[in-house]
């Protein structure tokens, strides 16, 4: 695919923008419930695992996860694994689309059916993904830049309202709870594996490994800042009871007397992160489908993937409570297994069998 190459930087910026969408759902609510005031340290504690995962993905999955699976396990088992990831990816796409549509619905103060939002999201996702990957990557750069501005502004203003008593004291006895709190963070980082599915489109770089490790450290520090400000604003008890502590924090900031409703802008900006996530998942799923079903071109798989996700989003989750349970349970545990466990096993097999 010589005409559909992207740079590593583009893939990383798209992934970063995409991860911000589930990050605000998971953090710091789930970490605070497990580790209390020490919850903000969970993302830092997860840094070594993310660095290890990135190193493995970067060194051993240069041709992309689907190609590597086929090379390492052989055509049949490799395609089987791709199929497994495809099902997982479509399920995640369905769950996240429903979650984002539900958020749009809540924000628009209306109890009407969410079908419009759901179909609009998947429609835009389809439009972004059916084009060459480089178009999505370019869009990802714009999304990343816009989201970074919004995130820096909201965290900067939110930092003025941090109460240290909500973050400290943290002592040795909290370490086990902090370790336990890294599980949701690792589940969140499981989405990174879908970026690895696009590895085959990335132009190889000599300094690629270092760039990926720097990106991983930057991601963990950003998520730590997000957790620190949100947790410092509300404390672990209150943050644990909220659906999206970040948006609740943003509701309380603004420029007194001039621009007090900054949350409208930030919540609107987050749609870009939602789109980045859905597009990354849909793009990765179409790449997996191409390998699993030996399709000629990736774009042939885009429509079936999006339609399957639409069907899943409409029928798989009977209500918002079931969706929340899914996102806080199977999605996180599955993220650890599929995002960290299987890639590491695959890397192990690849190293043991001596395949380059």
């Amino acid at each position: 695919m010589p005409d559909d190459r992207i740079s590593l930087r583009q893939l990383l910026t798209l992934t970063f923008a995409a991860l911000l969408s589930p990050a605000i759902q998971v953090l710091p609510g789930l970490t605070a419930r497990r580790a209390g005031v020490g919850g903000w340290l969970a993302t830092l504690a997860a840094l070594p695992v993310l660095l290890g995962l990135c190193w493995v993905l970067c060194r051993l999955f240069r041709s992309g996860l689907p190609e590597t699976a086929v090379e390492t396990l052989g055509p049949a088992a490799g395609r089987g694994l791709c199929l497994l990831y495809l099902v997982w990816g479509v399920w995640l796409l369905a769950a996240n689309t429903r979650q984002v549509a539900l958020r749009f619905l809540t924000i628009s103060y209306r109890n009407s059916p969410m079908l419009l939002f759901l179909l609009a999201l998947l429609g835009v996702t389809f439009w972004l993904v059916r084009k060459p990957v480089r178009a999505l990557a370019r869009a990802g750069e714009v999304f990343f830049l816009t989201l970074t501005v919004g995130l820096v502004l909201s965290l900067g203003l939110g930092a003025f309202q941090v109460d240290l008593v909500n973050l400290l004291p943290v002592w040795v006895e909290d370490l086990s709870a902090i370790g336990w709190a890294t599980l949701p963070v690792l589940g969140l980082l499981g989405y990174v594996v879908f970026a690895a599915c696009l590895g085959g489109n990335v132009v190889p770089e000599q300094e690629g490994g270092r760039r990926v490790l720097r990106w991983a450290a930057g991601l963990c520090l950003t998520l730590t800042a997000l957790q620190t400000v949100c947790l410092g604003n509300f404390g672990p008890g209150l943050a644990g009871r909220m659906d999206t502590p970040f948006f609740m924090m943003v509701k309380g900031i603004g420029f007194e007397g001039t621009f007090q409703r900054i949350e409208s802008v930030i919540i609107a900006l987050w749609v870009l992160s939602d789109l980045a996530l859905l597009s990354l998942l849909a793009c990765a799923c179409s790449q997996l489908a191409r390998t699993a079903f030996a399709l000629k071109e990736r774009r042939h798989a885009v429509l079936p993937v999006v339609l399957a996700a639409a069907a899943g989003a409409i029928w798989l989750f009977p209500d918002a409570f079931a969706l929340d349970r899914a996102l806080e349970g199977p999605v996180l545990w599955g993220g650890i297994g599929m995002g960290l466990g299987i890639p590491l096993l695959l890397a192990l097999v690849k190293v043991c069998t001596g395949k380059k």
Binding site: I107, S108, Y109, V165, L168, V172, F234, G235, L238, K251
Partner: protein, 359 residues
Amino acid sequence: MKKTVLVLLLLMLLLTGCRRYAGILPYAREIEDMELIRTLGVDGAEGAGVAITASGDRAQEETQVVSGQAGTISAAVLELQGEGSSYLYFGHVTQLLLGEELARRGVMPSLNYVLRDVEMRLETALYLVRGGTAGQAIEKAAADGSATDRLEALADDAGLTANSMPRTVKDVLAELDRQGASFVPAVLADGGLTAAGYGILKDGALVGWAEGDAALGVNLIFGKVDADVVEVQAPDGAKAALRVVGAAASVGPVWDGDRLTGLKVHCEVDANLAEGSAMPDEATLSALEEELARVEAERMEAALALSRTLDADYLGLRASAAFRTPWRKTALLGSFSMAGLKLEASARAVIQRSYHADG
């Protein structure tokens, strides 16, 4: 291409708002058809129900007050909507008043409503109405201005009076989660919404009041003193007025082995000589400082006595102490109880300067 453009144009018809009741897009609301609610009052009503009173924006010529009653806050708010001619918008509510009877029953349903409602904000200032209902307070304030104006003035002057401070729903919810107790500024249900100390919440319900010296002590412990005036007697018998311009308190734990036996609160107080001898000698200055320290320590003692009597850590003393000794955090934060703890207060005052008209 033409077909695509045509389909897109047709889809855009949905965005015009012409088919308002098509059930697809959110309602469009004109700002002139909306009444911005600024102050919301919640009281207990018959049969464990709630009564809601809301007053509008001060920008309007006459403050409109509406009220409704139902089993839950959501239902009562819906009832309010039917009362006025405009759509009531609660996204600009800046003050929430809770009546005493409702607060004794429990504040959590009201605070959780603020937490969960999409329009309301956790930064909403919270007040308790002492000896009355929130409805009475809002109605009386509306007779000459509005409750919003009065409460905003009260919040602005809090540092000057040193016996009140604004607290938000977020502060109170976070403290109830963290230490099982909190405090909320109280007002009287008179036309001026006069400050009346603090209501002390424990396990989500009102259990007592901090008034007089205890309320002043609360402000000292939280360092919320901007310009309080303390009258003391100089050694020569003359009265001196000391303007307290700053206070910084620290909390230290007292241990008997591994057992927590008490907590010591120490406050460093900064003051200026407002009235009295313009150039006091060192002995006089020292005596004034000692006298001021004694008065301030007594105020803090009064606040601490309430904590012990009500067995409520409403001042967050355990959490403050855990900051200084994080290696003992389990012992300090493992319980909310203040029973059996010896609570002591001390203060050191420094008089920095006097006031002269010529600077």
